[in-house]
């Protein structure tokens, strides 16, 4: 910290804390100490305060303790001559700043409940999103876990003009980074500049307009803090672990654009605690020695066309920009971008026409690598708002290529097309739906570019399993229909192949340690009948991933000798878990919730918990935010069982798993399920019905209670008794 920076940061902290105190006093007068406060949809209270200090701010009156803490760690101003050491005090001041800003924002929610949109998207008249709720946290956080998003740039202020803002944003997007925006400079705000430049903002495009004031920075820092608690299983109050976790695993940095005020310095000093460096476009003093951050702490006066590259280097982040020879930008950050009805240039599928996608294998001499063929009218041949049928046929050839890989490669088409800016893709197989926006068409995007990008990305990501790939695109109705016929026959075969697999007949399972970047001791073992608990990886995915990257996070696990068939325990699996968890976990049972159940990471879609009185289990999914019969909300449950430990009575699992044959089969399986939220029951209704029929209790779905029946065991038990739920007559679940 240079003296100038430390002095400014400490001054800024004084100002912000004074403001927080004033606003708190006014709020106390207006609402009183018992008024509930907090950010919407989160179980982490005010997350920075909760994560760092363990204090739960639930009521206005709780803020008094936090303000007292702010004042106790707020250092005196830095003396001009012979100053006392100021780095540590400045970092402390930065932390106090975040505490105070969380209070300010929480009071803001109280004073103007509709100030923020409180959702993933901006609305017609409001571009400020406010704090991310826990659903967004999980959905987006998982991208930090699997590496899809390496981190985020916290942008403060504004670029000199909207054009530069759009360029910086796009560069960040192309490096897969999230952009978290707050604050203003010269009356301008980065998020507003992006809107002005016609850039789509919101969580979907990773351009997150948190809030108009500097204090909205806490939404970014709170997100990072929650990531450590949610995905890393770090306990609230274990500040050191939370901060180091972020330094090592969340590759974020601050980009102050414009004059750096005392308040900005205070926020920057705070962010350095998390290991997030500052890269400024103004000539502020630099802090180059390393230590708190991985490399430099403050780098300044960086030109706008170099600022993203420099920031990534200073943070120590390796990102690869995919240079795609297509006329629009390309990368995961554009995946969530939408093409609205009024912006459509060309539409295929989606009920208006037939669209089909098909990956198939050919002989080596039948495929000319890189060949892209468009048969029928192209974008340039139609007018704005046109509809065309479309068949995308991707033909692979190579020694390693096998039929099992086809569906996996086919599933890539969805997100790869979405990676292209101005292209929206929904669905798969013969219910695919594609929209190409006006902006993309204007830039010269044509159908052959779909082939070009598929060829390039397939080679980049899956090059190990094939040698050649060519793409054919058909837009003539009869041809599309002909392809669809062929494809449908193949889809049928595939479905039969996958659903026919059983754990018993499979000798090799797969591991998934993708989450170890976030939950270091967690090891998922994925069998055909137990998908990964995040819902993102099934056995086939893992198999393919393992073939594609033999040293990656998905490894084949030889089952070995059976230790217990009913519980689902094998010697080979145990040995693998022991090694992959670095000796922390030496065994678990794949099919049990009661007896040494599998470990759970923070990414799980659902948590099952034993309800002793009902002699069964309840399941709660992440989207359900209310109380449950086990006495804990989802987030509390996930915190309790997450973090890579095996907790008898609790287990994390995917939504899909509920209707798989091996779901807690050692403890009685699906028949044990006595409660789940209505929304979950509706989501899995078809499969649940089928599974119920399979076990011979076709009306099981109606016997499962939900929140409309009750949210305590006492409330639901009479219902279960009335319905004659099978769990009640099973062996005692607790022995």
């Amino acid at each position: 910290m240079s003296k100038i920076i430390a002095s400014a940061a400490i001054r800024g902290a004084h100002k912000i804390i004074t403001r927080a105190e004033k606003e708190w006093q006014a709020a106390m007068e207006k609402w009183g100490a018992n008024e509930p406060v907090g950010f919407p949809g989160t179980a982490y209270y005010l997350p920075i305060i909760y994560g760092i200090t363990g204090l739960k701010v639930e009521k206005l009156g709780d803020m008094e303790t936090v303000l007292a803490k702010c004042k106790s760690i707020l250092p005196p101003p830095v003396r001009e001559e012979h100053p006392l050491p100021y780095l540590a005090p400045a970092l402390d001041a930065g932390m106090a700043t975040f505490f105070a800003e969380e209070l300010i924002e929480a009071i803001g929610y109280l004073a103007q409940p509709d100030f923020y949109t409180k959702q993933e998207d901006v609305t017609e008249d409001n571009i400020w999103l406010g704090a991310a709720d826990d659903v967004i946290l999980r959905k987006r956080g998982i991208e930090f876990v699997d590496g899809t998003a390496p981190g985020f740039a916290a942008v403060l202020g504004a670029a000199p003009n909207p054009g530069i803002a759009a360029k910086i944003a796009q560069e960040l997007q192309q490096r897969n980074l999230y952009v978290f925006m707050a604050g203003e400079y010269n009356g301008k705000r980065f998020a507003e500049q992006l809107v002005e430049a016609g850039v789509q903002i919101g969580w979907g495009t990773r351009l997150v307009s948190f809030g108009p004031d500097t204090s909205a920075t806490v939404f970014a820092m709170g997100f990072a803090t929650r990531a450590a608690m949610s995905f890393g299983g770090v306990e609230a109050g274990d500040f050191r672990k939370i901060l180091i976790y972020n330094k090592d695993r969340v590759f974020a940095f601050a980009l102050p654009l414009g004059y750096v005020t005392d308040e900005w310095y205070a926020n920057a000093a705070g962010a350095i605690n998390w290991g997030f460096p500052v890269i400024a476009d103004t000539p502020i003093p630099e802090v180059l020695p390393t230590g708190i951050c991985t490399y430099e702490h403050v780098v300044s006066n960086v030109a706008h066309d170099k600022i993203v590259a420099r920031a990534v280097e200073v943070r120590g982040l390796k990102t690869t920009v995919t240079e795609m020879p297509i006329p629009v930008a390309f990368g995961p950050a554009f995946e969530g971008e939408r093409v609205r009805k009024e912006d459509v240039y060309l539409e295929c599928g989606g009920g208006k026409s037939l669209m089909v996608e098909w990956v198939t294998t050919k002989d080596m001499d039948e495929v000319e690598d890189g060949k892209v063929e468009v048969v029928g009218p192209d974008i340039s041949d139609v007018t704005e708002g046109a509809t065309l049928p479309l068949a995308i046929v991707v033909e692979f050839a190579g020694r390693q290529m096998q039929a099992d890989n086809e569906p996996i490669l086919e599933r890539q088409i969805h997100h790869l097309l979405n990676y292209a800016q101005g292209v929206m893709h929904i669905g798969q197989r013969d219910i695919a739906w594609l929209r190409i926006g006006k902006a993309a068409a204007e830039k010269g995007f044509k159908l052959n570019h779909i082939g070009i990008l598929l060829h390039a990305k397939m080679h980049q990501d899956f090059g190990q399993i094939f040698d050649k790939v060519q793409v054919k695109l058909y837009t003539e109705a009869d041809k599309v229909e002909e392809i669809a016929q062929k494809a449908r026959a193949v889809y049928k075969e595939r479905d039969a192949r996958i659903s026919g697999m059983s754990d018993e007949e499979t000798d090799t399972y797969y591991s998934c340690t993708l989450c170890q970047s976030f939950a270091p001791t967690h090891v998922c073992v994925i069998s055909p009948e137990r998908t990964g608990l995040c819902g993102s990886y099934n056995w086939m995915d893992c198999k393919a991933a393992s073939e594609i990257n033999p040293t990656g996070p998905n490894q084949p696990v030889e089952k070995g000798a059976t230790v217990d068939e009913k519980l689902g325990q094998w010697q080979g699996v145990n040995a693998f878990i022991n090694k992959a968890s670095r000796g922390n976990i030496d065994h678990y049972n794949l099919y049990s919730i009661m007896h040494d159940p599998p470990t759970t990471c923070g990414c799980c879609e659902c948590v099952a918990a034993v309800l002793p009185q009902c002699n069964g289990i309840m399941i709660v999914n992440r989207g359900y935010k209310e109380d449950t019969p086990c006495g804990m909300k989802f987030t509390t449950l996930a915190r309790t069982v997450g973090g890579g430990v095996s907790t008898p009575g609790f287990v994390g699992h995917s939504k899909y798993s509920i209707c798989q044959r091996k779901f807690i089969s050692a403890d009685g399986g699906i028949k044990r399920v006595v409660w789940m939220p209505k929304m979950l029951k509706e989501e899995i209704a078809d499969r649940l019905k089928a599974r119920a029929e399979e076990v011979g209790i076709s009306d099981l779905p109606d016997m499962i209670a939900d929140e409309t029946i009750g949210v305590t065991e006492e409330e639901i038990l009479p219902f279960l008794q009335k319905k004659g739920h099978p769990a009640l007559s099973m062996d005692p679940i607790l022995e």
Binding site: H82, P85, D248, E313, G316, S517, T521, R582
Partner: protein, 654 residues
């Protein structure tokens, strides 16, 4: 004038030497010219351990001798020059270790008295450190009061002095590899007193007559000082009086005030100084001073006790070891209150020329011609008041020949291990990481501990300041204690602005953290803090797995006391390359000297060196630092590692 200028680089000192000369007052500077060092004793070649001697076994002039001459250059009992040099050296260690450790014992006694509520006026100031100590020592905390816990802590540590077997508890603080090495070499101390007594025994006529074995016991004894007595003193002082944190202070004779009662506390143990700091602020005492015509009471420190009260109370320092008599020469000093160690008997003589009262306070250290007023921990407030009152009563006796030099410098002091840990990362990210990181990336070349005394055989303060400036110019961060720290503080090296004298890399780190390039870590007993800091560097990682792997070095360029030898020996035995100036007490035996200067490195990873020239000595240290950097593979610039997802996954658990 010219004569005074040749004796010191410190203007205040020069001015007072001139005044003394004019007033025909003789100081250590004069006496050092009158009495030349005994050439036989200086090199460790005089044995007076029995009445068959004393035997002088010094080398003939020119240093050349035939094998035959050499055979007969032995004592009456047959003791060789090697045995005699080693015995003398070992006895210096014993005396030094005894001084530090007896200091530690007195602190432990006072600590226990406070814990048992027997010493009114003191209280336990650092609860955090008390609890940490208790945890480390395996003491039950539960719902017990601080005082109950402190009784256990005090009793356990008190037993360390009289421990007879096993090994000292604090050895476990050292890096594991170092502990194992000590055990392997047989130098892990069994107790504190026992090792000192054993040296006295072994060096008795006709006992241990193998120089290597004698030096080995020297190592064991020195370790019982550094990792024993001194460390206990530092830790208990911190708990009792507060762990030092950065504070702005002032130093040099200019801190004395013309219109106030000037009272200097001089010596080493902080109990007395602590209480004087409190009592001298007592409104009742200030009123009393006013009644005698003074505007107030001005307490200042001198020598190590000054370091203690500066770090904890911001009490100004009047000067270092060689300035003790000169403070009296100002004519404005009402009393110089002393306890133990480094108190020149000459004070009493100089005081006769002025009105100054020399007040001894410790039953172990009385001086003929001085006033003795027993300072009693159990009745601290009253006895301290009596001492202050005596000083006030002396104010009206001031003569007319008053001259207080205007020189004084600002300094930032108080860099304890705990504070450094905090300063490098704040409350939430405290660690040694930034220090290690910047050593690894080369901004900081290494760390040097420059410590020790003043010695009128060399130009006062000059050697310290020249060496330290040379080191920081080459990006070596300097940590200091004792009178050496004071020399550099007077030269203005202990304020952040002194980064201008540092190399670019070190300066950038100083600017980042807001620290001076030269850090004041406390009194000479606080060299134990340097051991802890070095261990913290090892434990933070990236710089090897033992203290001897670190790019660090030590020096005492103006040393004079036996404590310095003990400190040096425990640093060397802990793996630190250590250079001494002035003269070297084993030069009478090439074998013993080679053993310490060369063979030691193989066994301990650290060794001694002797180099009176400060610049050359600094470069010996820098060479050693560079050697260690090379061994660690950090001598070359490293490429920036950019992390991708896979590498992040490989990072060990958060």
């Amino acid at each position: 004038m010219a004569k005074a200028k040749g004796r010191s680089i410190d203007i205040a000192t020069i001015k007072m030497l001139e005044k003394a000369e004019k007033e025909k007052v003789y100081t250590a500077f004069d006496r050092a010219e009158v009495i030349q060092p005994c050439p036989v004793g200086m090199v460790g070649s005089c044995c007076k351990h029995c009445s068959m001697g004393p035997c002088r076994v010094s080398l003939p002039a020119g240093g050349m001798e035939t094998p035959e001459e050499r055979r007969f250059r032995i004592g009456v009992c047959g003791a060789t020059a090697e045995t005699i040099a080693a015995r003398n050296f070992a006895r210096m260690i014993a005396a030094g270790a005894a001084a530090h450790s007896d200091h530690g014992r007195r602190v432990a006694e006072a600590f226990l008295a406070v814990a048992k509520s027997e010493a009114a006026g003191y209280e336990i100031k650092d609860e955090q450190k008390l609890l940490q100590l208790a945890l480390e020592l395996g003491i039950d905390i539960g719902e017990r009061t601080n005082q109950e816990i402190a009784v256990d802590v005090g009793e356990i540590l008190m037993k360390e002095f009289g421990r007879q077997e096993g090994e000292l508890l604090f050895l476990k603080r050292a890096p594991l590899k170092r502990q194992e090495l000590w055990r392997k070499l047989g130098v892990a101390p069994r107790g504190i007193d026992r090792e000192v007594v054993e040296i006295m025994h072994r060096t008795h006529m006709g006992t241990d007559q193998d120089y290597q074995d004698l030096i080995k016991q020297g190592s064991r004894t020195a370790l019982s000082d550094g990792w024993g007595g001194s460390m206990i003193a530092t830790d208990l002082q911190d708990v009792l009086f507060g762990t030092p944190a950065p504070v702005l202070g002032q130093i040099n004779l200019g801190v004395l005030k013309e219109d106030e009662v000037n009272l200097i506390v001089h010596g080493h143990e902080p109990q007395l100084a602590e209480m004087l700091a409190v009592v001298s602020q007592d409104p009742e005492m200030i009123e009393y001073a006013k009644s005698k015509g003074a505007k107030g009471i001005n307490l200042a420190g001198m020598c190590c006790t000054a370091n203690e009260v500066l770090m904890r109370h911001g009490v100004p320092i009047a000067g270092n070891f060689l300035q003790q008599e000169l403070a009296i020469v100002t004519g404005a000093l009402e009393a110089i209150v002393v306890d133990v160690q480094c108190i020149m008997q000459g004070l009493a003589d100089v005081a006769q020329c002025y009105h100054t009262k020399v007040i001894t306070t410790d039953p172990r250290a009385k001086i003929e011609g001085a006033t003795h007023m027993d300072f009693d921990d159990l009745n601290a407030v009253e006895t301290a008041k009596a001492i202050v009152k005596a000083a006030i009563d002396n104010f009206p006796n001031r003569g007319k020949n008053i001259h207080i030099p205007t020189e004084k410098a600002d300094l930032i002091a108080g860099f304890s291990h705990e504070t450094i840990n905090y300063l490098l990362g704040g409350l939430y990210r405290a660690s040694y990481r930034p220090l290690n990181d910047n050593i690894i990336n080369g901004r900081i070349r290494g760390v040097a501990g420059v410590v020790g005394c003043n010695n009128p055989r060399v130009k006062h303060d000059d050697v310290h300041v020249a060496m330290v400036k040379e080191l920081i110019k080459h990006d070596v961060l300097v940590i200091q204690t004792g009178c050496s720290a004071m020399a550099c503080a007077k030269a203005g090296l202990m304020v952040p602005e002194a980064a201008q004298y540092a190399g670019e890399g070190l300066a950038s780190v100083c600017e980042t953290v807001g620290i001076p390039p030269v850090l004041h870590m406390g009194a000479c007993v606080d060299n134990s803090r340097i051991l802890i800091a070095a261990t913290a560097m090892v434990k933070d990682g990236g710089l090897g797995d033992d203290i001897s792997d670190l790019p660090v070095a030590g020096a005492a360029p103006e040393w004079m006391s036996e404590k310095a030898i003990s400190i040096g020996q425990y640093f060397v035995a802990s793996g630190v390359f250590t250079v001494f100036g002035v003269n070297w007490p084993t030069l009478g035996s090439k074998e013993v000297t080679d053993f310490l200067f060369k063979d030691f490195e193989e066994a301990y990873g650290g060794k001694w060196a002797f180099e009176p020239d400060p610049i050359r000595a600094a470069h010996l240290m820098i060479e050693h630092i560079d050697k260690k950097r090379k061994a660690l593979g950090i001598d070359k610039a490293r490429e920036r590692v950019l992390y991708d997802m896979e590498m992040r996954r490989e990072l060990a658990g958060a």
